[in-house]
Symmetry: C2
Subunit: 363 residues, 2 copies
Amino acid sequence: MSERVYNFSPGPAVLPEEVLEQAREDLWNIGGTGIGILEHSHRGKLFNRVIDEAQADCRTLALLPPSYRVLFLHGGASTQFFMLPASYLPDGGTADYLNTGSWSAKAIEEARRYGQVHVASSSEDASYTYIPQGEEISYSSAPAYVHFTSNNTIAGTQHATEPLVPDEVWLACDASSDILSRPIDVEKYGLIYAGAQKNLGPAGVTLVIMREELITRSAVRELPMMLRYRVQADHDSRYNTPNVFGIYVMGRVFKWLLANGGLAEIGRRNAAKAALIYDVLDSSSLFKGTARADSRSLMNVTFRACTEELESLFIAEAEKEGLVGLKGHRSVGGMRASIYNAFPEKGCEALAQLMRDFEVRRG
Amino acid sequence: MSERVYNFSPGPAVLPEEVLEQAREDLWNIGGTGIGILEHSHRGKLFNRVIDEAQADCRTLALLPPSYRVLFLHGGASTQFFMLPASYLPDGGTADYLNTGSWSAKAIEEARRYGQVHVASSSEDASYTYIPQGEEISYSSAPAYVHFTSNNTIAGTQHATEPLVPDEVWLACDASSDILSRPIDVEKYGLIYAGAQKNLGPAGVTLVIMREELITRSAVRELPMMLRYRVQADHDSRYNTPNVFGIYVMGRVFKWLLANGGLAEIGRRNAAKAALIYDVLDSSSLFKGTARADSRSLMNVTFRACTEELESLFIAEAEKEGLVGLKGHRSVGGMRASIYNAFPEKGCEALAQLMRDFEVRRG
């Protein structure tokens, strides 16, 4: 087995090595069937078990009540950006969106094709470096739903908890970059969606957790079959051929999360991992975090050095040490350490140590 | 390495073992990067090379002229069923569809949401057991396009060649089950789409080959970003995170096809493979092919035995011999041998031999 590096990529991102090892076996021949996981029918016994277990394990992890369903869809979060308002934002109606980053802005852009969007809060004026809270949020009188992005990968901010919403209004959430990274109070949500490629698995499959009531409710307009939540639910995420391998890997990641103590324990670990790096930032005179302290993400730690020259030097030194993927998003520059569920604590320790060493040498 | 069986599944389907072996390596660490293919950024150097090579190899295989583009999209053929008419069938306009099976019928159902559909031919009256030809096809006066399904997996029929269409009318084709299985005269087509999971790779990625002119032409209605061919093309299939692994495997399959002589040679092999089974059917008094001889598919050989009891017996015996996935689609019963590109000739020989032996023993 060749050596692997610490992969700080923002997504697709590092997966648990136990999951990769199992996937390598199952690619050739899964469960003694003589057929690899890529080659199994999506309607056969083997895959029935894979998808049933993935659903059941997701329910166990997230403590889903019976009134919620788990779907595995195509098209990424970007497809949910329009499938959600196409289904639930009527012509002439209004949905409220919290604008905390460029992914929120894209969700808003798509929703505007279907109805009114009321931007209930925005931190765009401060380059999205904080999460507006309390009185900074102002809802419309009767929104169809409230949409927010729980974690913002580019600015490195995260909602510490769900925004408070008016009674009887349901939350829709793009949780692509912090899904199942800590315990979640699902009943606050009508619909949660997440591309798999950060915390859950490979790119190309989208987890949707939604209230049964939203599934059975008629969509506000006629949609193609593939865009109907109800069709997807009635066919158990197999109206057409689903991403068999993506669902399989996600299922293995669910089992890995369960074996590692579930969301309470993974949340504790994620907080500890992030603290290792934020602690360095808070005591450094060379490095500085870019997100406001109360809005910091436990998933994406964004930071800068005093000069761009030092940033380039640091990124190059880190790469030599096997710490890769630390370059910040091209729209903001700087550095970003993406440390999702599967990112190992030792990698955070290595980064923190390198930052301290670098400051001694270059500070 | 544990033993693998002959997998006659209709899709997801068998993949070349060389591709699986490479994928097992690359899942852990691809190209000496210290990162597995599932964990690489879709905007990084490694994946740039993967997607560029996949495109170039597809172009080489299909002999694409510069005026055609290659896209890798989400959502399967079922998403193309509506993305195509949403883009090119104007309100009040008419598109012509050839109805040769239940997948054609689904494509027709989606197109009807956007405009008129003229069914130019149909073999539904004969349970889709043949491909209407010549005067059996009657086009409308000025269709926006003509759509057909090149191979029908359930009935086991295949267009021997492209249908003739009126001058200046472009063909749209669902080629999910025979894409790149033989040489193709691309310039007859405006747009070809195919879910990967039969001839090209794992489920969850869709190959689209289309004319540049259709990409730059304005869609007939405003669509969400994800549903715009132009947005997908302008972003080189990476408007959002694509199915990284699916594109990677497809690229490895393209290389395997090139190494095995390209489409002329693979077409010859596929014809020879199918002939092994059809020859038994033509000389059998126990088994009988279900498709009309001039419409037979080289990808899915559908057949029946004299009685359902014998069919069950045959399927059970085959399974014991390591020939699995031979049960026909639930809507038609009987048997079906799906023998796509990666299905080995030896497996077809084994099936033909078993059929002959079975007839001697049970006939």
